[in-house]
């Protein structure tokens, strides 16, 4: 058996593939659900309901998708240029750190001015965090997969140190958390009485913007060239190192923005458990989207929906709530296979 690339992919197949993937994942996990003794069909009904079945479910899915879109974009822009940034988690925390510092009352500005400043501060901090590994890569050829990965631990410890030291909330009763940001720095809610905040709008706007940059501008062109063949790009006269560093700033910036948006839109202050691995999930999101900025939105919504839905399901049934992560993982893997089967056909010989 071998795989043969399809020359053109029928639209039906393109649409059917993700559906098939989800069905396959659900079928696989049905075994686990059945093992717990819960009725499988009802469980999946509840999953669907929990993900999109109500205004509340929908806004929750969107809320959870927001940081995923941003970290997904962070991974996508970096991977496009073959900068393997596995450190979005750390960059996210650095962005959040900057947000609580800048948004914590240091500046006395009205909301329309303060929010952009805080977001940009978050981006700057995230970008600066990735700049280090990028410089090491460009300068000394140090593998960035490893440095960015290791920096995640360092950043988390740094945040922990600051939360127990300089940034500790004096009103926090000793709990390691930062003082809350000022009200002017809070992102407005998109829907009343839900958690959905303007971070989603920022994320959506950025994915469109990045898509335009990628496909229409000199920047995007250079990024793609360097990603596909740095030697040829350098030969043609492109400043490869500068492009690499620029990409690092952007990618880290997007991850930092994810952190800032979580702080300003959702949480209001910084703790050590701001992110349940959004940085790592961003990689998954980006690759599911095949690094396409618009696709990132879809992939993030998908991952968020599965998680929120399965989590809700586990609440209504005697199923351990770890099923949510199992389902996300299974859907991811099935989605990868389905994407492949859409692009290739299976042939004998």
């Amino acid at each position: 058996m071998r795989l043969e690339p399809r020359t053109d992919i029928p639209l039906a197949l393109r649409l059917l593939a993700p559906v098939g993937a989800v069905v396959a994942a659900l079928a696989l996990c049905a075994l686990l659900v059945a093992w717990t003794g819960a009725p499988v069909l009802r469980a999946y009904g509840l999953l669907f309901e929990g993900a999109v079945g109500s205004r509340f479910a929908l806004t929750e899915t969107l809320t959870r998708a927001t940081p995923l879109i941003l970290t997904g974009l962070a991974a996508a822009v970096a991977f496009r240029t073959k900068l393997w940034n596995i450190g979005a988690e750390g960059q996210l925390y650095m962005g959040a750190l900057a947000a609580v510092v800048v948004g914590g009352g240091m500046l006395d500005l009205p909301g329309w001015a303060l929010i952009p400043v805080v977001m940009i501060a978050g981006m700057a901090a995230g970008g600066a965090t990735l700049l280090g590994p990028a410089v090491l890569k460009v300068r000394f050829g140090v593998d960035e997969v490893v440095t960015t990965l290791l920096l995640n631990f360092v950043v988390l410890l740094l945040v922990s140190m600051l939360l127990e030291g300089a940034l500790k909330d004096p009103m926090g009763m000793g709990w390691p958390q930062s003082a809350p940001i000022v009200e002017a720095a809070e992102l407005p809610k998109l829907v009343e009485r839900t958690r959905l905040h303007a971070g989603l709008a920022i994320a959506l706007g950025l994915s469109v913007l990045l898509w335009l940059i990628d496909s229409r501008t000199v920047w995007g062109y250079e990024n793609r060239a360097v990603g596909a063949n740095p030697r040829a790009a350098a030969f043609a006269g492109m400043p490869v190192n500068r492009i690499m560093l620029r990409t690092a700033l952007l990618s880290g910036g997007l991850a930092g923005l994810a952190g800032a948006a979580e702080v300003c839109g959702l949480k209001g202050y910084l703790t050590l458990d701001l992110s349940p691995g959004f940085g790592y999930s961003g990689i998954v999101v980006a690759m599911l989207a095949q690094l396409h900025p618009i696709g990132v939105v879809g992939a993030a919504l998908f991952i968020a929906g599965i998680f929120v839905g399965a989590d809700a399901m586990s609440r209504a049934m005697p199923v351990p709530n770890y099923i949510a992560d199992v389902l996300v993982a299974a859907s991811l893997l099935c989605m990868l296979v389905a994407g492949l089967l859409a692009r290739y056909r299976l042939r004998r010989g």
Binding site: R2, T36, L136, F140, L150, S160, M161, I283, M287, L336
Partner: protein, 307 residues
């Protein structure tokens, strides 16, 4: 006491080196496992999940009445199984090794938790087993059999890689799969085999945590050790001997920070000490980076008849 004499004091104590060997063991096993996968050209970011599954499955087997060694076999088998999943997706299908690996980590971790909770729904104190005991030997030699096993495996893996036809085949498919195929080797089978073997080693690293270092399974117990192994493989320039060295070095940093943290009398934030192993690893990477020669086909999928 001034800093230097404290340092000297620590470094000269047998207990320190006992701790180093103990701490190094899971890193040695995990790094070896990752190394075998990467030598065959497959990055395995599933390591964290595979270690978690190994820790859970090995422990669960023993908890259900199996012997400790049987538990190890069960862990290795479960690891190999997850490895097979990773390999099936990344080798014949050529899917992205990054994403598949992260997917495998997520799956391994969540599945372990799910199964653990399903089997022990009402545990409010983690149930325990009787783990491997340190051998009754003097000083740093007083280790559990698993530590000895890990160190023996370094030699074994090195021997297999450099002295057997199978090892040469593994290195070849990691360097240039097209060349391996032109020599009549089945690239797909060799890669799958290597990933499974490597994953079994990773699972042993996980099982060490529950069957030797401790006696119960905990959620989040692997705690990033797998990611460190990935860094150690790069540090080791994909060589088993250097992997051992890297794991020992990391363990030295870790054992040292635990001791310095106490000796510092709380003057410095404890996080600075916890950071030390990571920062020193990055520094070590910068120093070896120029000389590292990675397997050329690493992360590049090979599909027969495609170019």
């Amino acid at each position: 006491m001034d800093f230097l004499s404290i340092l000297l004091d620590i470094l000269l104590s047998a207990a320190f080196w006992t701790a180093v060997l103990r701490i190094a063991t899971p890193y040695v096993l995990g790094t070896l496992g990752e190394l075998v996968c990467e030598r065959a050209g497959v990055l395995n970011l599933g390591i964290e999940g595979i270690m978690t599954l190994g820790a859970m499955a090995g422990w669960m087997a023993v908890y259900q009445g199996a012997g400790l060694w049987t538990g190890l076999v069960v862990a290795a088998a479960c690891g190999a199984l997850l490895g097979l999943l990773h390999a099936a997706l990344t080798v014949p299908l050529g899917l992205s090794q990054h994403v598949t690996g992260i997917g495998v980590t997520l799956l391994g971790t969540s599945l372990s938790y799910f199964i653990y909770r399903l089997v022990l729904p009402q545990a409010s104190t983690p149930p325990t087993i009787q783990p491997f005991q340190p051998l009754d030997l003097p000083g740093a030699l007083a280790q559990t059999p698993l530590t000895y096993l890990a160190f023996a495996l370094v030699g074994l893996v090195a021997y297999v890689l450099y002295r057997t036809p199978a090892g040469l085949a593994v290195r070849m498919v990691g360097e240039n799969p097209a060349a391996a195929e032109a020599q009549g080797l089945n690239v797909t089978a060799i890669r799958i085999g290597a990933v499974m073997a490597g994953s079994a080693l990773m699972a042993l690293a996980g099982a060490f945590l529950t069957l030797s270092a401790f006696n119960a399974f905990f959620f989040n117990m692997v705690n990033g050790r797998g990611w460190i192994c990935i860094a150690l493989v790069v540090f080791a320039s994909w060589r088993p001997g250097k992997a051992l060295l890297g794991a020992l070095l990391f363990a030295v940093f870790d054992a040292l920070q635990l001791r310095l943290q106490q000796a510092s009398g709380g003057v410095l934030p404890y996080q600075l000490f916890l950071m030390m192993p990571y920062l020193l690893s990055i520094l070590a990477l910068v120093l070896v980076a120029r000389r590292a020669s990675y397997p050329r086909a690493l992360m590049i999928p090979y599909r027969k008849g495609e170019r």
